[in-house]
């Protein structure tokens, strides 16, 4: 009976995804993602955040298809400019450029782009398979979590997120606390009393997530890029790129197959861990391939494995990064936080109950991830000339148009000019945070998790008659708290070692 209903769900999900509308959305998403990801300075997160306002008037599945396609496309797109220009379009494509650009200099740019694409698709497919296998059992376990467990889990996630992205742990924690504070603006989730609204009616529903996201992630980045362009010596430089050289042979791909598989596993593992993300995965994948190759000296000089490993690893993050979001309602990375924001805007609440209440939607999501990979395999190569034309454009010409799109994006969802002002405010805040080395991602994730943390914290305290020890006496909750403390200690030690290393290299440099 259970098996039959499972196959019914799978059948319905496949039928949902196979509609022409969704396939069109995936194709448009992948295409947009590849093109935007290829533009240096425009990351995948920016691309997704800019696309969300467009999706507001469409069905949830169509919208999520578009966003997933865009995400997958942007992760690969970053490698295009990395390989052709030695300027990675996205941060996770940085290790790809280490060997990709030397291949371009050797006249093998097309071969490198093909290898990056095939490795990306292989990594993404392996990761999707792991998501498909892991999400249902974790969801079943998570359904049993009570308010105390969820509060401790959120705390654990916040600690991990605070430890990444900022220039120091203290700054990461400050961003997290600021996010929690901002999350309390609006009506109290329990007794519906106004909090920190200053009598502004627009704030009753809280700070608009999309306006905040566009401001913090996109407008702030536009300002950062603007600063780079005005300080650059050649702001209007037109990049010269060429697509030429031999094609990838099956023998060459076969030689890299082992590296692709191992890097995919590394990427999948990194994706499932909150706060680790695709940048770390790409570097770990590259380094592992270099060390395991037996010929590390060939890396950095145009080794195909050096292109395959980081691309497989960073794309393998996409599938498993969705595991904590779908099963626990916890976004482990910035991209997933934005996708989670899109879920929430469309009235879907990611978390263990999503699997129970909307199983067809969740399995549709799995299918559309796989279809996105297949579209990614077929679409980019014929469109590479378009992508290379776009990466030639000077950044200075794109920034004003992106700013205009930010204005539109903030306005479109609620048709509220107040949201536009909120977006601009957070754009400036995000720019200042980046200048000070404070992670906007930690702030955003804390803002998203804030209501969940507050509701469960107050519920846990109410159920235990105000006894704070409830978080320690329940074993799973206590485990998450121990993990939170241990993670904090590890993160502090890692930052300290990193600083010590920097200090040592500065001393060595001075001595030299």
């Amino acid at each position: 009976m259970l098996g039959a209903s499972f196959f019914d769900i799978l059948g319905s999900a496949a039928a949902n995804v196979a509609s022409l509308d969704n396939l069109t959305a995936i194709v448009i998403g992948v295409l947009t993602g590849v093109v935007l990801g290829a533009i240096p300075g425009l990351s995948g997160t920016m691309a997704i955040a800019l696309m969300i306002p467009l999706t507001f008037h469409w069905t949830p599945l169509f919208s999520i298809s578009l966003l997933m396609g865009c995400w997958k496309g942007s992760v690969y797109g970053g490698s295009i400019s990395g390989i052709l220009l030695n300027t990675p379009g996205t941060p996770e494509a940085a290790p790809t450029a280490l060997d990709g650009y030397p291949l371009t200099l050797q006249g093998k740019s097309y071969k490198a782009l093909q290898m990056a694409l095939f490795a990306s698709v292989a990594g993404a497919l392996i990761s999707d398979a792991l998501l498909f296998a892991a999400a249902p059992p974790i969801s079943l376990l998570a359904v049993k979590f009570g308010p105390a467990e969820i509060t401790s889990l959120v705390l654990f996630s916040l600690v991990i997120v605070a430890g990444t992205g900022s220039s120091s742990v203290l700054k990461g924690l400050i961003a997290t606390c600021l996010g929690l504070y901002l999350a309390t603006v609006g009506l109290d989730p329990v007794d519906s009393q106004r909090r920190l609204t200053f009598g502004i009616l627009h704030l009753d529903q809280g700070i608009d997530l999309l306006a905040m996201m566009i401001g913090l992630l996109v407008l702030s980045e536009v300002l950062v890029q603007f600063k780079e362009v005005v300080t650059s010596q050649t702001p209007m430089r037109v990049n010269t790129v060429s697509l030429k050289g031999p094609r990838l042979t099956f023998k060459e791909f076969k030689r890299c197959a082992g590296v692709i598989f191992k890097s995919s596993m590394i990427g999948s593992f990194c994706g499932a861990l909150p706060g680790v993300g695709s940048i770390t995965a790409a570097f770990v994948g590259y380094d592992h391939a270099r060390v395991a190759s037996g010929h590390p000296e060939t890396f950095g000089k145009g080794e195909l494995k050096g292109v395959a490993a980081p691309e497989a690893a960073n794309n393998a993050v996409c599938g498993t990064a969705l595991v904590p979001m779908i099963t626990l309602g916890i976004p482990g990375s910035l991209s997933v936080a934005i996708i989670m924001g899109a879920f929430m805007i469309h009235g879907l609440a990611p978390g263990p109950m999503l699997m129970v209440e909307e199983p067809v939607f969740v399995y549709s999501l799995f299918f559309l991830l796989v279809i996105s990979d297949l579209v990614l395999l077929l679409l980019p190569l014929p469109l590479l000339p378009l992508a290379t034309w776009i990466v030639r454009l000077p950044r200075a010409y794109l920034l004003p148009a992106i700013t205009l799109f930010c204005f539109f994006g903030a306005y479109a969802t609620n048709q509220s000019l107040f949201d536009v002002q909120v977006m601009v405010l957070f754009g400036i805040i995000g720019f200042l945070l980046k200048s000070w080395g404070i992670s906007a991602a930690a702030l955003l994730i804390a803002f998203i998790l804030g209501p969940m943390a507050e509701t469960n914290l107050r519920l846990a305290l109410a159920l235990s008659d105000g006894d704070g020890l409830v978080f320690l006496t329940r074993p799973i909750s206590a485990l998450f708290l121990v993990l939170a403390v241990a993670s904090l200690v590890l993160i502090v030690r890692r930052h300290r070692n990193h600083r010590r290393g920097e200090k040592q290299s500065a001393v060595n440099l001075t001595l030299e």
């Binding site: 203290l170 901002l182 909090r195 362009v229 004003p400 205009l404 000019l417 804030g450 107050r458 109410a462």
Partner: protein, 160 residues
């Protein structure tokens, strides 16, 4: 002349103090806008503001004790003209957020882009003219007309 690391230390010191001061104001606001500090609905705002206060002070202390000397520098190294162009761009964006209500997205969008292109250093008249027109046209026809997503129209053009 102060070294790069000294500048960073000083910057973090003032940043920490600034955050702590801001968090102090945040706690006062909780008292005024939420209610007594130690009640259920003040818990999370208090955790947020209190956390910022303590961590801000820790950051200032940490910087003061010179332990953050090797963290990455945030010094901009901008000339006064470059700084003026950046400030100008931020001012233009703020002004457009205010006047969008009156001008509408089409007119405001074109003027915003023309100003930003000028500030970014473009001297190509064709680019300054055509790029704003093309992007606004794409937004208007592609999104407003084709997808039916409304754009702000502007009170000035409605006789209001």
């Amino acid at each position: 002349m102060p070294s790069r690391s000294q500048k960073q230390m000083s910057s973090d010191f003032w940043l920490g103090l600034g955050i702590a001061a801001g968090a102090g104001i945040g706690i006062v606001l909780i008292r005024a806008q939420v209610g007594p500090l130690f009640q259920a609905r003040s818990i999370l705002p208090l955790v947020g503001a209190g956390g910022c206060l303590i961590l801000g002070l820790c950051l200032a202390l940490h910087a003061y004790s010179g332990q953050m000397q090797t963290s990455k520098s945030v010094e901009s190294g901008m000339t006064s003209m470059q700084m003026m162009r950046l400030t100008g761009a931020i001012a233009v964006i703020i002004l457009h957020a205010i006047f969008l209500k009156y001008l509408g997205l089409v007119v405001a969008g074109i003027s915003l882009q023309v100003m930003l292109l000028t500030l970014v250093g473009s001297r190509n008249i064709m680019a300054i003219t055509l790029l704003p027109l093309a992007s606004v046209a794409a937004l208007y026809f592609g999104i407003s007309i084709l997808l039916g997503v409304p754009l702000p129209e502007g009170l000035l053009w409605q006789g209001g």
